[in-house]
């Protein structure tokens, strides 16, 4: 267990979620935009249409700046925020999937060299070579998705990996294919939405209509196929995850997943038929709406992982809850129950390692930091605030609170308390005091 980083109101996990969701936009644009680009570039050459090429140049410049400034750095940002929010979680992933990430990095090398060359060489290399650069980029960038989806879905459904520890057993898990296709189709909707934004500023009306119509058709196809893939993805989830989804999916979140997707589908349909009706403001609005839908989907994906960070093995608070013989890993739970988590966890102030009357309150806070703060703020307001939740449960007595902590063993979406009895009581007393004093 590493030092805890507390972010008031938000939690460190909240910071990770914000950066990761933002990254969806530039990263999915990076994997999809070039397919539309090379299609239009080829058409521009075949039909000798320089005005179409104007769009392709603008679009690739937008792609370069948006995806390879903000996308590259927000991608690094996901790593950094995962590092400070859940170091043991990202460490576990990296120690299993380091070669997966390294493989993705090879394609990333090709991508970055490719986008610079593509953007800056329209008039510098012959047309056929330029198109080939585009194809190389398109293939390499989509391949980064082929790789990363294996790691992303492993975090949701590790499948046979839990028994074998094998890289590919975890990688090609039961949600891999539907997720890959869902992201692939959704990325075209995103590419189309951004293409409209860029095309809205084209002066040549014929070119604008043509690009926007192509974007509308691409986007509509992406949205419809995406909906079908979502249904497949939903059906592929194991029963236990369905239970968590049923328990945690609020009607509001459900609406956020559905309505923006419908609105975007309708928007693309309008574009396909009335391509000149859309201006910059509407194009931006569509991107915001699309983002809302993506945000809700990502949020739901995070929710159904609960109570785990690595399903079947590591809880959301980074405590390893089960043995993994295939990797020679032993559970923390038994060890912490014997010795006490305060004595055994590396980052605990020395004065709190042994519980006594003088340090009980501070030790209680330390336990809350270790076991609860990954998902709950310790403040009165913010993300799942502990004082309010405890008050909501009507817990004003440490003994009752201890009973509640005992009952966590049977909860579907919260990790059990890990530690010894004295620590459990200290945490219970702290939580009750927190609820009472509101600090």
């Amino acid at each position: 267990m590493y030092p805890v980083w507390e972010v008031p109101y938000l939690t460190a996990g909240g910071v990770l979620a914000l950066i990761a969701t933002f990254h969806m936009l530039p990263s999915h644009l990076a994997t999809s935009a070039m397919w539309l680009s090379v299609y239009l570039e080829g058409k521009a050459y075949r039909e000798e249409r320089p005005e179409l090429l104007e769009f392709v140049k603008k679009y690739s410049k937008f792609l370069l700046v948006f995806s390879y400034v903000f996308g590259s750095l927000s991608g690094v940002g996901i790593w950094f925020s995962a590092t400070v929010a859940a170091p043991r979680g990202i460490s576990g992933l990296i120690h299993n999937y380091v070669w997966g990430w390294a493989t993705e990095w090879v394609f990333f090398l090709i991508e970055v060299a490719g986008i610079f060359l593509y953007t800056y060489s329209f008039d510098k290399v012959d047309r056929r070579t330029h198109l080939t650069v585009g194809w190389v980029f398109a293939a390499a960038s989509w391949t980064t998705m082929v790789v990363i989806v294996g790691i992303l879905t492993f975090m949701l459904t590790p499948g046979r990996w839990l028994a074998t520890g094998g890289f590919f057993d975890g990688f090609f898990n039961q949600t891999y294919w539907p997720q890959l296709l869902l992201r692939t189709t959704a990325m075209f909707a995103l590419a189309a939405a951004f293409a409209v934004l860029v095309a809205a500023r084209l002066k040549d009306e014929r070119a604008r209509a043509e690009v926007v119509r192509a974007a509308g058709v691409t986007g509509l196809a992406g949205t419809l196929l995406g909906a079908a893939c979502f249904a497949w993805y939903h059906a592929s989830l194991p029963a236990a995850l369905h239970d968590v989804l049923d328990a945690l999916l609020t009607p509001a979140l459900g609406r956020w997943m559905l309505y923006p997707a419908l609105a975007v589908g309708l928007y693309f349909a309008v574009l396909a038929f009335k391509p000149l009706r859309v201006g910059t403001a509407a194009a931006l609005g569509a991107i915001v709406v699309l983002f809302a839908s993506v945000f809700a989907l990502e949020r739901a994906r995070e929710l159904i992982r609960k109570p785990y960070l690595m399903p079947g093995m590591m809880y959301s608070n980074q405590i390893i809850g089960a043995d993994l013989p295939a990797k020679g890993v032993g559970s923390d739970a038994g060890r912490f129950a014997r010795t006490g988590i305060l004595a055994a966890a590396p980052f605990v102030p020395e004065g709190l390692r042994t519980l006594g009357d003088s340090n009980r309150a501070e030790a209680g806070r330390m336990l809350a930091l270790l076991e609860c703060s990954a998902c709950h703020t310790l403040q009165e307001r913010g993300l799942r605030p502990l004082p309010r939740l405890v008050r909501g449960l009507g817990m004003d007595d440490p003994a009752a609170m201890t009973g509640f902590l005992d009952a966590l063993e049977g909860y579907p979406y919260m990790p059990p308390f890990v530690g010894n009895q004295a620590e459990k009581e200290a945490l219970a007393a702290y939580l009750v005091a927190l609820a009472r004093n509101g600090r």
Binding site: P3, V76, T83, H95, W99, L109, S121, F168
Partner: protein, 406 residues
């Protein structure tokens, strides 16, 4: 808790999928390339700003070239930074994660500082010379890159002192969870990383002049000036770097006797040879750019040796707590190891094609036409990527069917 016990508890229990020495070698190699481009990013940005401030035809033209170079260098630096960032987490996980979580707010700020700095680079390049906003954007970029560099330096320096971590985490008996404090830094170490920015940029200018000299449409006199400027910059700042290196060497714990370490000695000899070579290059009849390629080779060799020395030094630091990067348990996973190395080999073929196109196109005035060999190589690149996808998809189908229902 003893520091050694703490480190062994922190170490990831999953082990590593291949021998740690291989990750270490990859880390050193990719770090060397990363830091070279970090140096070029800082140096080209600084020169771009300086050129715009100085004004006049020559400096303005140079400033324009450096602005564009900076954008590409930063992107490359980020790209090449991903790999050592990955490998350091594999073999130095307790150190990296502890240092990061102790200063978590800085870690997150680093990302936004880089975004702001990199975004401003484009504002600088897109604005005209007369526009003050462009100049301000350039200065801002440079400030952001230096801030980001300093943050990364501090995080890496904190890593080396595990015996202090718990003290940094504790205040008045309680855990400090704000992550707002950078707990330690070493100015000599930071300077030793930043001064080479100008030496590397000097060599880059020599290359720039050498590379473009075949272009009939470009001003020969200007290129010759750029080459001479680069030669001087490279020589003098390599000299300053020698002094900065001495300062850094004196700041190290004396018990390490690092000055006598063979890897350090190799790096120092290479550095001194580079300095001598750059001195000679300045007197070359055709200008220092005549020797741009060997200078670049010497620079690369020196940076590689310095990166290896840095790793040897890290070994001494972490060894004080009984830790070694080789202590990770190996859970051999040959399939994924093969996936990476095969992909890497294939990727280099494709990457080399892209770089080769860029190299040849840049040296041609007007539009460059690919010959039949380059054209075949391009198609082969697309084919290799398609073949990779086909093989991996096939593997995926086999694994999926094998595991279905189990």
């Amino acid at each position: 808790m003893q520091t050694g016990t703490m480190l062994s508890l922190l170490q990831d229990p999953m082990g590593v999928p291949f021998y740690p020495a291989v990750f270490q070698a990859l880390m050193v190699l990719t770090f060397a390339l990363h830091i070279l481009f970090v140096n070029l990013s800082v140096g080209t940005t600084a020169l771009a700003v300086f050129g715009r401030l100085k004004g006049g035809e020559r400096w303005t033209a140079l400033s324009r070239g450096m602005g564009k170079s900076a954008a590409a260098c930063v992107s490359t630096a980020i790209l090449l930074g991903v790999a050592p960032l990955l490998f350091v987490q594999v073999i130095y996980d307790p150190f990296w994660y502890a240092s990061n979580t102790l200063s978590a707010a800085w870690v997150i700020a680093f990302v936004f500082v880089m975004m702001a700095g990199y975004g401003s680079t484009y504002v600088f390049t897109m604005r005209s010379e007369a526009d003050r906003l462009g100049l301000a954007a350039g200065v801002f970029s440079l400030a952001m890159f230096l801030t980001a560099g300093f943050t990364m330096h501090a995080l890496n320096f904190q890593m080396l002192q595990p015996e202090k971590w718990l003290g940094w985490y504790t205040q008045a008996g309680a855990a400090v969870t704000s992550g707002l404090v950078l707990h330690d830094f070493s100015l000599p170490r930071f300077l030793h990383f930043i001064v080479p920015a100008f030496a590397a940029t000097g060599v880059y200018l020599m290359l720039y002049a050498r590379y473009f000299e075949v272009r009939p449409d470009l001003d020969k006199e200007h290129l010759s000036w750029v080459g001479r400027l680069g030669g001087g910059l490279a020589f003098w700042t390599t000299g300053v770097q020698t002094l900065a290196g001495l300062g850094w060497l004196l700041s190290l714990p004396p018990e390490f006797r690092f000055y006598a370490h063979p890897v350090f000695m190799l790096a120092a000899v290479l550095g001194a040879s580079l300095l001598f070579f750059l001195y000679e290059a300045r007197r070359s009849p055709g200008g220092p750019q005549r020797l741009a390629w060997p200078a670049a080779g010497g620079l690369l060799a020196t940076v590689l040796a310095m990166a290896a020395a840095r790793e040897a030094l890290r070994g001494l630091y972490v060894g004080r707590s009984g830790f070694t990067a080789m202590s990770h348990r190996v859970n051999l996973d040959l399939a994924s190891t093969a996936l990476f190395f095969v992909t890497f080999a294939l990727g280099l073929v494709v990457l080399a094609w892209l770089l080769s196109v860029a190299y040849q196109a840049g040296r041609t005035a007007g539009r460059w036409e690919a010959g039949p060999r380059m054209r075949r190589w391009g198609w082969a690149s697309v084919g290799l990527l398609a073949a990779w996808l086909a093989v991996v998809a096939g593997l995926g189908v086999v694994v999926t069917l094998k595991n279905a229902g189990s």
